[in-house]
């Protein structure tokens, strides 16, 4: 069965040299959609991507990545919207192209965050006056 999952990888210092994404495509027949990637000053890497392919292959690919000591977070925490500080003003709405941040309804104008639609573009981080949106890297 074809599945699509979003993952957030944290690479320890030693593994930023290994071309892991290339292996995912070649060895596990996966489609990789990279949302964001960054190597920090300490040489650690962060990678937020979406994998599409056979469910079993995705599982194997994950095991392969973990074998490098990479930590995997499956709960899409590339971008965080703090529900305590969000005032539901709605300023982020027109800046979030995939509508991950969207109106629950036009009556209350409650702003909901659907993490699965987030592509980690960072526009909400730049546009939230309340500082409610942040990225982990």
């Amino acid at each position: 069965m074809i599945a699509k999952h979003k993952y957030f990888f944290h690479f320890p210092k030693c593994e930023t040299d290994t071309p892991i994404v290339c292996r995912l495509v070649r060895d596990y027949d996966l489609e990789v959609n990279i949302f964001r990637a960054k190597v920090n000053a300490e040489g650690e890497g962060y990678l937020l991507l979406e994998l599409t392919g056979e469910e079993a292959q995705i599982e194997r690919a994950k095991d392969f990545i973990c074998s490098f000591g990479v930590s995997v977070n499956t709960v899409d925490k590339g971008v965080i919207r703090n529900t305590d500080t969000c005032t539901h003003c709605g300023n982020c709405l027109s800046h979030c192209a995939p509508h991950a941040l969207h109106l629950r309804d036009s009556h209350t104008r409650f702003v909901d965050f659907d993490e699965s639609r987030c592509v980690a573009c960072g526009q909400c981080v730049a546009n939230c006056p309340m500082g409610a949106c942040s990225t982990v890297f």
Binding site: T85, T87, H88, C89, G90, N91, C92, L93, S94, H95, L103, S106, T108, R109, F110, A126, N127, P129, M130, G131
Partner: protein, 393 residues
């Protein structure tokens, strides 16, 4: 016809019938304005959004030996000290000293006066640093400490301009992105931003200032406060639709309340990339339903309130007065509008859900007899326009 005294008696007895501005719409539609005026005592209105013309007077208490402060910083944000010895005024849009502002454009403006005010209300400590030239009775020249709001003798919010009656809708018709106090506007009119609670907004429910005046009791961020003056740029002579509702800026209110009684949830420092810092505030204002006319005005709907779409890349900065068209708040609140032949996404800086929450809170306070109304001491001006500043040499 009811009087303020009769309504207050009913509030004190726990018998007042109170509706939110939103509930009033349906009530008047179903029962008519006459019946509504008979049945309903008070309608609660509210708004929550950035209000740049806000700030607070602080009294720090004297140091030993004494100081007559001439310059003062709170968490690095300058507070105006051209007042008596240990008084200061901290403005919401004041930047932190040495903030690089827009030197590298667009600046981030992560922290400023509004954030300090939020921290104080939230009970956090802030660093206070003060300087003086020293006098014989105030010899101290320097003072540094950490303070919370509890350490201050007074922390009184005094806002020269809040609750703009209506506001522009901002769009950007240029070919490059612009950064404004109404957020980031994409080129070629790709998005627009508005900032009003529409049908919940205090002055849109009392468009001709029949009940809201100087002395009116208001709910300011959880504290009981009042209207202390007409707001700066109060401009009642303006474009109005036939229901008397302004279709542009119009009236404003000067508000004050004790910051020690406020809740952080409704006092929020905010940052606008490329523009600066501000303070988002929650304000609730009760409207006494004295007669059917007032009842009818409180039933105003989003679809009957219009705002002018203004190009913030040229017309706004150059003050041309040109607008591109008008949209009503029902259209704006839907999140997407058709404008000049294009489908445009709409953002907002005013939180409707927070305004609704404040309407409900105030409604409960009035029902419980905890919030009495006050009759204005003086009406707000109903005829007055706004002048531009003359440039003379």
């Amino acid at each position: 016809m009811k009087t303020y005294a009769q309504i207050n008696d009913r509030i004190a007895a726990g018998k007042a019938v109170v509706l939110t501005a939103e509930e009033m719409i349906d009530y008047v539609e179903t029962h008519g304005a006459q019946q509504a005026a008979d049945d309903i005592d008070v309608v609660t209105t509210a708004t929550f959004g950035p209000m740049c013309s806000s700030g607070c007077f602080l009294n720090f208490g004297q140091t030993i030996p004494k100081i007559r402060i001439t310059e003062c910083w709170l968490d690095g944000v300058p507070a105006y000290s051209g007042l008596a010895a240990v008084d200061a005024y901290l403005g919401a849009t004041q930047l932190r000293q040495h903030d690089s502002a827009n030197l590298i454009f667009p600046g981030d403006f992560e922290f400023g006066g509004g954030h300090v005010i939020e921290k104080l209300v939230g009970g956090e400590s802030v660093e206070m640093f003060a300087l003086s030239y020293g006098t014989q009775e105030y010899p101290r020249r320097e003072f540094k400490t950490r303070l919370t709001i509890q350490d201050l003798n007074q922390a009184i919010m005094v806002n020269p301009r809040n609750c703009y009656q209506n506001y522009n809708v901002a769009i950007n018709c240029s070919d490059h992105r612009i950064y404004t106090y109404l957020g980031q506007l994409e080129p070629h009119g790709r998005n627009m931003t508005y900032c009003s609670a529409g049908q919940l907004s205090p002055l849109l429910n009392d468009p001709l200032y029949e009940t809201i005046g100087i002395g009116t009791a208001v709910w300011l961020a959880g504290a009981r406060g009042h209207v202390h003056a007409e707001g700066t740029q109060h401009c009642p002579t303006c474009l109005r639709t036939e229901n008397g509702v302004p279709a542009e800026g119009a009236g404003t209110l000067g508000l004050t309340a004790n910051m020690k009684h406020m809740s952080r949830r409704y006092v929020r420092g905010c940052s606008f990339k490329g523009y600066g810092v501000s303070l988002a505030l929650g304000v609730g204002i009760p409207i006494p339903i004295l007669n059917p006319t007032i009842a009818q005005r409180c039933a105003v709907r989003d679809r009957d309130i219009y705002a002018q779409v203004t190009d913030y890349s040229s017309d706004y900065p150059m003050k041309t007065g040109r607008t591109l068209g008008s949209l009503n708040y029902e259209q704006l609140r839907s999140g997407r509008v058709d404008f000049l032949g294009k489908s445009v996404e709409v953002s907002s800086l005013s939180s409707y859900s927070m305004a609704l929450e404040i309407c409900e809170l105030l409604k409960q306070e009035i029902r419980d007899g905890r919030f009495l109304l006050s009759q204005p001491l003086q009406a707000l001006p109903r005829e007055q326009s706004m002048k531009a500043c003359p440039e003379r040499r």
